[in-house]
Amino acid sequence: MFEYILSKYNYWMYIVIILIGFYAMMAKGNFMKKLIGMGIFQWAIIFYFMSIGAKRGASIHIVGGHGAAHTAVQAAEIINPLPSVLMLTAIVVAVATTGITLSIIILIFKRYGTLDEDEITMPK
């Protein structure tokens, strides 16, 4: 039982961060706080994918060494490069959505004068 919890402890950490970001997106009233919650959610997902690529006792994914002669590369000694590659694209997509969301928040403030969710959707 304790072994089961300890051998997968990275998943418990990322679940906690995902739930924190999700709560911030739903329960907070200010739009900037919702945006920060979305940012926390995105980074937790990116960390979770990057943690899949680890291998016990392996070294980083730069092969070749020094000089011209290089020995054959064993697949069990190099960590998995594929999650890092896919997450590079995900990081750029996160930056793009954050930029567009910030510009929409500027437009909302110009139109309504406030950034509170309750005052905008249910005006007095």
């Binding site: 730069i62 750029v92 910030l102 510009s103 500027i106």
Partner: protein, 154 residues
């Protein structure tokens, strides 16, 4: 962001840091094949160097260093270089983005031609990422108005 007073500490330190950051971004891009780095990382560091000019000095100083028209041209130039390399491989007779056929125009064997093809597309990625990061920052910080610092062209 047109200010009258400069902060002495920030502006003096950024005099040392900004050229170093620009050269470091080119180093990170150029060594993307043998050490961690590449197009995206180099482009973000270069954009951060220009954003430091906006923070430490004026918005007008940043606009003098990097004109608005040049920014728009750089945005499109990067995508054009990337797709242009793919089309060049298509015109030479192989598949789209198949760099080994570039050994006909470059003085290299087909294995080394893939190395040079990757360098060309990473250049395109760096130019686009740098220009877009700076453009998004300038738009968000001035709410699109650019406070009269846009060139007077009609």
């Amino acid at each position: 962001m047109v200010r009258d007073i400069e902060d002495i500490v920030v502006s003096t330190l950024s005099r040392f840091l900004i050229p170093f950051m620009q050269v470091f971004s080119l180093y990170v891009f150029a060594h993307g094949h043998s050490s961690p780095g590449g197009g995206f990382q180099g482009g973000c560091i270069m954009a951060a160097a220009f954003i430091l000019i906006v923070i430490a000095y004026d918005l007008r100083e940043a606009k003098r260093r990097f004109k608005e028209k040049a920014l728009l041209i750089f945005c499109c130039l990067g995508v054009f270089i990337y797709v242009g390399t793919g089309f060049l491989c298509l015109l030479l007779g192989s598949n789209f983005l198949d760099y080994s056929i570039l050994s006909k125009v470059l003085p290299a064997d087909p294995v080394k031609a893939r190395y040079y093809g990757m360098a060309m597309i990473e250049l395109g990625v760096q130019i686009t990422v740098m220009a877009i990061m700076l453009s998004i920052f300038l738009d968000l910080v001035t709410k699109g108005e650019h406070e009269g610092a846009l060139e007077e062209d009609v």
